[in-house]
């Protein structure tokens, strides 16, 4: 970038997976391209570059965002988590482990986005966020059971053209179940648990539902 004109390039510091990266970026550079082309963090995938497929889903301040619709210069100061930052060292995140064990993928290209999305879905749910298919949306109702229908609705921003949806839903349900059992949840989720007391059990029931929902009439 030696010839970079100061008016179209800026130095930014991005906080990615707990590490600070300072780089000079073209103002047009999306967070997605900064990750992939500049920082060699290629786990975040480019499926459409238009915010339509979810393959580039990352967490910005713990919430889901599509990196293709975020300019890198606007991501300064945000806490960015990519698929490379989901595991704890060599220990896979429960969502990653469940995707691996239950074959929640085929080609693997939508997978990082699905996993980042699922990590946030479990926390959003535990924190009591309703979805479009939640029956009782009163705040005091707490999180609804994390049924397959709830998971499908909440994960619908992530396309999988291989059609691995069945096992993805099962994987998210299993991870949520493990999450609730081990108490490995975000602070917000923990607060919700403390306040309501019963969400873990409900979540587990939802996960069971994924396994037991049968095709037989």
């Amino acid at each position: 970038m030696a010839t970079a004109s100061p008016s179209t390039y800026s130095a930014v510091t991005l906080n990615i997976n707990g590490e600070k990266h300072t780089l000079t970026v073209d103002h047009r550079t999306t967070l997605l391209d900064a990750l992939r082309e500049r920082l060699d963090l290629t786990g975040t995938k480019k499926g459409c570059d238009q915010g339509q497929c979810g393959a580039c889903t990352v967490l910005l301040d713990k919430r889901r965002a599509v990196a293709c619709l975020q300019l890198a210069v606007a991501a300064e100061g945000r806490e960015i988590t990519t698929i490379e930052g989901v595991a704890e060292g060599d220990r896979l995140h429960p969502v990653q482990q469940a995707f691996l064990d239950l074959d929640g993928y085929q080609c693997g290209y939508c997978t990082p986005g699905q996993i980042c999305s699922a990590v946030a879905v479990i926390e959003e749910h535990a924190a009591g966020w309703p979805s479009a298919v939640t029956d009782d949306v009163r705040p005091e109702a707490g999180p609804p059971p994390l049924t397959p229908e709830e998971i499908r609705e909440r994960m619908s921003g992530n396309l999988c053209r291989c059609g691995a949806y069945v096992s993805i839903v099962q994987a998210v349900a299993r991870a949520a179940e493990n999450d609730a059992r081990t108490g490995r949840t975000a602070e917000a989720a923990q607060d919700a648990h403390d306040a309501q007391g019963t969400q873990g059990a409900q979540g587990a029931q939802g996960a069971q539902g994924a396994n037991h929902e049968g095709a037989a009439a």
């Binding site: 995938k45 074959d103 997978t111 949806y165």
Partner: protein
């Protein structure tokens, strides 16, 4: 729930045991690198500029202004691009689609035709320059309209992947006239696009006189062979690698991006990456042609077919012939004294269509299996019973025996699990609140073949084994399946076997296509591994360089006797139809398949259900629409072109009956495509059962449901 292993200690039983993907950890951690993700020093970025004209010629490419833009290195177009040769027959026995041979002339045969490649130091610079590039056209009137009806004055018949263009026996009109029940119906399916999640991407570079291409494709030697022929290179001077592939579904062969990347790398003497945008894929990546089909059936009072006619019309471009052989399934599924099939094609000013998951079978089975359901209704016979009564003893067209035909077993098991026996055949009777409910079924088949392949198996001195085969894992789980096959052939645990794939230097092997990849590769791997095991039994120690055995299955595959070789399946669906909004939702789906030995139940289930979900998507969502004025698509992206997402997909279940192929060393038939066959028909037949109205045009959109209403 399947219990999966990640590496077994026992030997000889890996095939048939669920095993997680050997590259799974890389895929869930983001470590797996796809084609556009390999870093190169001095990498430059190419960006296509596509024609906005639908027919005519390029008058000028105003590249001077663009070359002044920051970072721009070159603008390749028909006036300056290297010349290539397209007068050859490729590895698959077909001439190349000239669409891939970019920038060779000024003709524009369709909207979205590549007219230039802008290369710049960064992708942002390349993109802006490509979008700023002014191209002047001399436009001519175009025709992109695929009119309704299975007849077209300019249609002609050509052979296709499904065999000859036309087949026929018996007097159709006489048998129809003598039939107790006659059905005559027209069906249509729209233009459909593969849309693998990973866009087509290639990086080309010259490395000491050798062309290296890192690509996303379904067969590295296929692409390497075409590039060598096109650029008149020694085949040994071209290497194509494709380690991880983010889906293909038929679209990832030789395409414009590889050729353009090679041209740019040649002109600039530096590595160049070309990635299609999602929107560009709608013009450059191939697609499934729309079809208009007519099915005529005549049966006696017991439902036994006396006459069967299936004709299918599809489109191709003006520059290349590809035919969607919708009439193919009838040649396998049902016999009749009068049996006629025809595949015809008409040329329009559109891009060239190509293979897309179950080419021919997917749209063809929609028409044929809907027609069988309609015939069952007219005869007052259960749709499963109708199919069982029409099980042919021999291939209806070939007269050859079937290697195995376990379709009735699939229907029996499926009916039991789905609860078919309790079904009231009358339509429009079941209600759940505002939803009308219905169930439907359909049969499925797909050709089971093998192609010659080579493999190498090496016993390493540390006690492990390396298998090298130029396979492609496009998400099928082939890499894992071959690990299991090799472990069993070597009689060792799977964790002692590593499989290397996706590199043209590994030698000739079948592509990932035609549901023949894993079978063809497993054959070669088995041959090499079994011979290696015999060799090891005779040797005392493995030398430091290891012991390698190579195999070539050309003779063995060539010795297969002529038979009708197919997988079969039974599809079941339950739908709910909201007659107030026209929304159709699939509530549950079950497929039972007879598809050879299942190597890895964990990944195989995903292949079947993935195909079935394509069937849901085909039945209800997918449709690319062309604007007849511009000749280009409306909404050529994933917002305009709908594919099924999580919320559209219920619990879809797949299972299989015992059906090992007696002529295959492992018993494999192939499972990549059969899941979609018949799936859309099962959904459409369920919609009829719910509403009493036949939907013969896909997708079954809400407006179509509303317009058609309910006929209980």
């Amino acid at each position: 729930m399947t219990t999966a292993t990640t590496g077994t200690r026992t030997t000889g039983h890996a095939v048939g045991t669920a095993h997680t993907r050997v590259e799974g950890r890389d895929k869930v951690t983001g470590a797996a690198r796809y084609a556009g993700e390999i870093p190169f020093t001095e990498l430059a970025f190419g960006w296509f500029a596509l024609s906005t004209a639908a027919r005519g010629r390029v008058r000028s490419v105003e590249s001077d202004a663009v070359l002044e833009m920051p970072g721009v290195l070159a603008v390749l177009h028909h006036g300056n691009a290297p010349r290539v040769d397209i007068d050859y027959v490729g590895m698959l026995g077909m001439p190349p689609d000239p669409t891939a041979a970019v920038f060779q002339h000024d003709r524009v045969p369709h909207a979205g035709w590549p007219v230039a490649l802008v290369v710049a130091a960064t992708s942002e610079q390349a993109r802006e320059a490509a979008e700023a590039l002014v191209v002047h056209y001399e436009e001519e009137p175009h025709d992109v309209t695929f009119a309704a009806g299975s007849e077209h004055p300019d249609a002609y018949s050509i052979p296709g992947p499904g065999g000859p263009g036309v087949t026929g026996k018996g007097d159709l009109e006489a048998e129809l006239a003598a039939s107790a029940v006659v059905l005559d119906a027209e069906y249509s399916t729209p233009e459909e696009h593969h849309n693998p999640m990973e866009p087509h991407a290639a990086t080309a570079r010259w490395d000491g006189g050798r062309l290296e291409v890192v690509d996303s494709n379904q067969g590295t030697l296929w692409v390497a062979d075409e590039l060598a022929k096109m650029f008149s290179l020694d085949p040994a001077a071209v290497r194509v690698r494709s380690e991880h592939v983010g889906g293909g579904f038929g679209s990832k062969g030789l395409r414009a991006h590889q050729v353009a990347a090679v041209m740019a790398a040649t002109v600039l003497s530096r590595p160049v990456r070309v990635v299609m945008t999602r929107r560009q894929m709608f013009s450059l990546a191939g697609y499934r042609s729309p079809t208009n089909q007519r099915v005529r059936l005549g049966a006696d009072a017991e439902g036994r077919l006396r006459a069967l006619e299936h004709s299918s019309l599809s489109v191709t471009s003006t520059v290349h012939e590809f035919i969607e052989s919708g009439a193919g399934p009838a040649r396998v599924m049902y016999d009749a004294p009068a049996h006629h099939t025809a595949n015809r094609v008409v040329r329009l000013d559109v891009p060239t269509p190509t293979f897309m998951r179950a080419p021919g079978e997917a749209p063809g089975s929609f028409a044929l299996e809907s027609a069988l359901d309609e015939l069952a209704e007219k005869c007052g016979i259960d749709p499963i019973e109708l199919r069982v009564r029409n099980e042919p003893a021999l291939g209806p067209v070939s007269g050859l025996p079937f290697s195995s035909r376990n379709l009735p077993a699939c229907f029996r098991e499926g009916a039991r699990r789905f609860g078919w026996a309790d079904r009231d055949p009358r339509p429009g009777l079941r209600r759940d609140g505002r939803w009308l409910l219905g169930t439907g079924t359909a049969a499925a088949s797909f050709f089971a073949g093998a192609m010659p392949s080579t493999a190498a198996a090496t016993a390493e001195s540390d006690g492990t084994f390396t298998v090298r085969i130029n396979a492609a894992d496009i998400g099928t789980g082939a890499r894992t399946a071959l690990t299991l096959v090799a472990a069993d052939a070597l009689q060792v645990p799977t964790d002692r076997v590593r499989v290397r794939i996706g590199d043209s230097d590994l030698g000739p092997a079948m592509i990932a296509g035609g549901s023949m990849g894993t079978r063809s590769w497993a054959w070669a791997v088995t041959a090499a591994a079994e011979e290696l095991r015999e060799r090891l039994a005779l040797s005392d120690a493995v030398p430091p360089e290891g012991i390698t055995v190579r195999s070539d299955t050309t003779a063995a595959v060539g010795a297969l006797t002529q038979k009708e070789r197919h997988s079969f399946g039974a599809q079941f669906a339950e739908v709910a139809v909201d007659v107030a909004t026209g929304e159709v939702r699939v509530r549950r789906m079950l497929g039972v398949f007879a598809a050879g030995k299942i190597v890895n139940p964990l990944t195989a289930r995903g292949q079947f259900t993935g195909g079935m979900i394509w069937g849901i998507s085909m039945a209800l969502h997918e449709e690319a629409v062309r604007d007849r004025n511009t000749g280009a698509h409306y909404g050529a992206d994933l917002a305009g072109y709908h594919v099924a997402t999580h919320a559209d997909v219920p619990l879809v279940e797949a299972d299989w009956v015992d059906d090992p192929d007696p002529d295959d060393p492992v018993g494999i038939k192939g499972i990549g495509e059969i899941g979609i066959v018949g799936a859309a028909a099962a959904v459409a037949n369920a919609v009829w059962h719910a509403t009493g109205v036949r939907h013969r045009s896909l997708p079954i959109r809400p407006d179509r449901v509303l317009e058609a209403g309910v006929r209980a």
